[in-house]
């Protein structure tokens, strides 16, 4: 009896909660916007800094449904599926170009974004959005080489050092095809926006040669490995390099010539039904104090001139976080590549990752075939045994 009562009451509670929740979220949807951003990329109040989304809610009464992604491709797949309704997204440069070409992004109405005047002039008219119609820069950084100056006695100039045989076993490398290929292409002196298949094949050869020297292919494990001097040299993003250098004074950072500058920018989706609110949100992101909080919590460079001037002097004057305009002139942005080039790179990358010099590629298939034949023969032997017993 008691159990029955408990279950009935649980049922009631369940229905009530369900009703309330769905009702609540419907209510919220009426005055809310959906924001899709990189993970750990916005100040959320945990460092004693401004809680950006909460502040926006407080000022406007508009609820922010904030969700995060871990790669451009993941974000793109979600949006392309057509089953999600986002208003604001913050992709990277090449992805913006791709999304513009597919008509996924809406042209912005800059009357609603007066704060765009705070954006640094050197970030206007970038290749991914030449007219600046679709995006407002949110954060940027440069790819460079982090190395341990205590253990490496010779000067490190550029990506060449990542192929140095003397450093064999102490080298880390990017664990994604785009960044890894761009390092190899730059080392060979090509543009990483190349459409030339031969250049890409040469870069793949370079990466294969490098594999023997590489200790590990990493993304976020790089922090621990570099800080503890478990590895001595690695290519990485400038904002993250600053974080590493704060914990290990021996680390240095250099910009190879013509390296990659990446820009993540806020855009409004074409399918958004609340474009005006979305633009209001982007305008809010361009407010100096908001941009400042985001820059301080994320560690990436801010595109916001006003926020830049409010930064602590040691960051403002850092040549790593804010390199000179001359240096930035030499950098290159990722462009949107034709699909076949991207696919070729991915295929080559998988080949490089999978192929092990010591083991032939036949080991796995042969092993599987042996397993299958053994299973089948055991089955046959058993069936025979059963028949004989009969």
């Amino acid at each position: 009896m008691l159990a029955a009562l408990a279950i009935v009451s649980a049922l009631c509670v369940g229905i009530c909660v369900f009703k309330n929740e769905s009702h609540g979220s419907l209510e919220k949807q009426r005055r809310s916007i959906n924001v899709f951003n990189w993970g750990e990329f916005m100040s959320n109040g945990s460092d004693g800094l401004l809680n950006v989304n909460q502040e926006f809610e407080r000022l406007t009464g508009i609820h922010v449904n904030y969700t995060t992604f871990s790669s451009n491709e993941e974000m793109y797949a979600k949006i392309k599926s057509g089953s999600v309704l986002y208003d604001v997204v913050i992709p990277s440069d090449y992805m913006i170009a791709k999304m513009v070409s597919e008509g996924l992004l809406a042209k912005l109405n800059f009357d609603n974004i007066p704060n765009v005047k705070n954006i640094m002039p050197n970030l206007k008219g970038m290749v991914y959005d030449p007219q600046g119609e679709y995006s407002v820069p949110y954060a940027w950084g440069v790819v460079g080489v982090v190395y341990n100056s205590q253990q490496i006695n010779k000067p490190v100039g550029g990506f060449d050092a990542l192929w140095d045989e003397e450093l064999s076993g102490d080298i880390l490398m990017f664990l994604n095809s785009r960044d890894a290929f761009s390092v190899a292409l730059k080392k060979l002196g090509f543009s990483f926006n190349t459409d030339d298949k031969n250049e890409i094949l040469l870069a793949a050869k370079e990466l294969r040669r490098q594999k023997k020297l590489v200790q590990a292919y990493v993304m976020d494990e790089i922090f621990d490995k570099m800080q503890s001097a478990e590895a001595l040299i690695a290519p990485y993003y400038s904002g993250d390099a600053l974080v590493m250098m704060r914990d290990n004074q021996n680390l240095r950072f250099v910009f190879p010539k013509g390296t990659n500058r990446f820009i993540d920018a806020a855009c409004v989706l074409e399918t958004s039904e609340k474009k005006e609110v979305a633009e209001q949100y982007i305008n809010f992101l361009c407010e100096p104090r908001v941009a400042l909080a985001n820059a301080l919590s994320g560690g990436y460079s801010t595109p916001n001139q006003q926020a830049f001037e409010m930064l602590p002097a040691e960051i403002r004057n850092s040549q790593i976080a804010y390199p000179s305009d001359d240096m930035l002139q030499t950098t290159e942005c990722y462009c949107f590549k034709p699909a076949e080039i991207g696919e070729l790179m991915d295929a080559l990358w998988i080949e490089i990752m999978v192929a092990d010099e010591d083991n032939s590629i036949w080991v796995m298939p042969v092993f599987i075939v042996v397993c299958i034949t053994t299973t089948i023969s055991i089955g046959i032997a058993r069936m025979r045994g059963r028949k004989q017993r009969r």
């Binding site: 009896m1 159990a3 029955a4 279950i7 009935v8 649980a10 049922l11 509670v13 369940g14 909660v17 369900f18 929740e21 769905s22 979220s25 919220k28 949807q29 809310s32 959906n34 924001v35 899709f36 990189w38 993970g39 750990e40 916005m42 959320n44 109040g45 945990s46 460092d47 004693g48 809680n51 989304n53 909460q54 449904n65 904030y66 969700t67 995060t68 992604f69 871990s70 790669s71 599926s81 057509g82 089953s83 999600v84 309704l85 986002y86 993304m219 976020d220 922090f223 621990d224 800080q227 503890s228 993250d240 974080v243 914990d247």
Partner: protein
């Protein structure tokens, strides 16, 4: 004696293997620096930071709401269907058991993608509602799975006896069947709850802007360094789960003692 030593050693290694990862996780939630390999000093700072991290807390809240509501709903639907399946004739029963077990064996990714395609086909925008629906759907088989054996254990004639004594079907259901199978319902509910909290793949495909759950949030954080706040949160979750298990165990053992005493007298 020697054999006993071997057995203890085996159990010890076994438990060590199971719990070392959790021990490391708990230990590093108190580590002063962000490092995941070096111990620099003791601090509660990550717990404090966690309390101010709106993003993670909201995700944790979403996860909890989805898990509890979905498990409740699935428990109700699953229990009723289990009773229904139990009283079917033999061949239909076997077919139905097979059909309800299939989703458990089916890889999650297939369930997730097919649900996403269904929602896209129906032009439903994914969000909290679709996520909840998906969780209810994948939880139902677990409930049926754990209630059916309890029904099979039940005395076949109990229902007939109750009806002989004047119960109608509703009374039979609530006064006879439910109390008999309640342990199965409870364990099914807990299992569903655990699977719901845990789920990544299905939530990834069926969740939307209004419903990011904790596993998805943590995954999105891995591009950069995962903060020890996650260790702190996991420690809290672990301690809560541990407490629940202890309370349930304590309650059960007391109930058992009670029963023993009653039967003994």
């Amino acid at each position: 004696m020697r054999r006993k030593f071997g057995a203890t050693l085996y159990i010890g290694l076994f438990l060590l293997f199971l719990y070392i990862p959790i021990a490391v996780l708990v230990a590093f939630s108190f580590n002063e620096s962000k490092s995941r390999s070096y111990w620099t000093g003791f601090t509660f700072a990550w717990y404090n930071k966690l309390l101010h991290n709106h993003e993670i807390l909201r995700a944790a809240f979403n996860t909890l709401v989805v898990a509890v509501v979905a498990s409740f709903a699935a428990t109700v639907i699953g229990t009723v269907s289990a009773v229904g399946v139990h009283f079917l004739d033999k061949r239909l029963k076997r077919l139905m058991t097979l059909l309800t077990n299939l989703p458990i064996v089916n890889p999650e990714i297939v369930t997730g993608v097919s649900l996403m395609l269904l929602f896209t086909f129906l032009k439903v925008k994914v969000g909290f509602e679709t996520l909840l629906l998906a969780h209810i759907i994948f939880n139902i088989p677990y409930i049926v799975f754990s209630v059916l054996p309890k029904l099979a254990q039940m005395d076949k004639y109990l229902c007939d006896a109750a009806m002989d004594l004047g119960c109608n079907w509703w009374q039979v259901f609530f006064k006879v069947i439910l109390p008999e199978v309640s342990p199965g319902i409870m364990s099914g509910f807990l299992m569903a709850l655990a699977f719901s909290v845990d789920d990544f793949v299905i939530s990834y495909f069926t969740g939307g802007p209004t419903s990011q759950t904790l596993p998805l949030t943590i995954f999105a954080m891995t591009r950069r360094k995962v903060s020890p706040e996650i260790n702190a949160l996991s420690t809290i979750v672990f301690v809560v789960a541990l407490t629940i298990i202890f309370v349930v165990q304590f309650y059960e053992s007391r109930k058992n003692k009670h029963l023993l005493r009653r039967n003994g007298s």
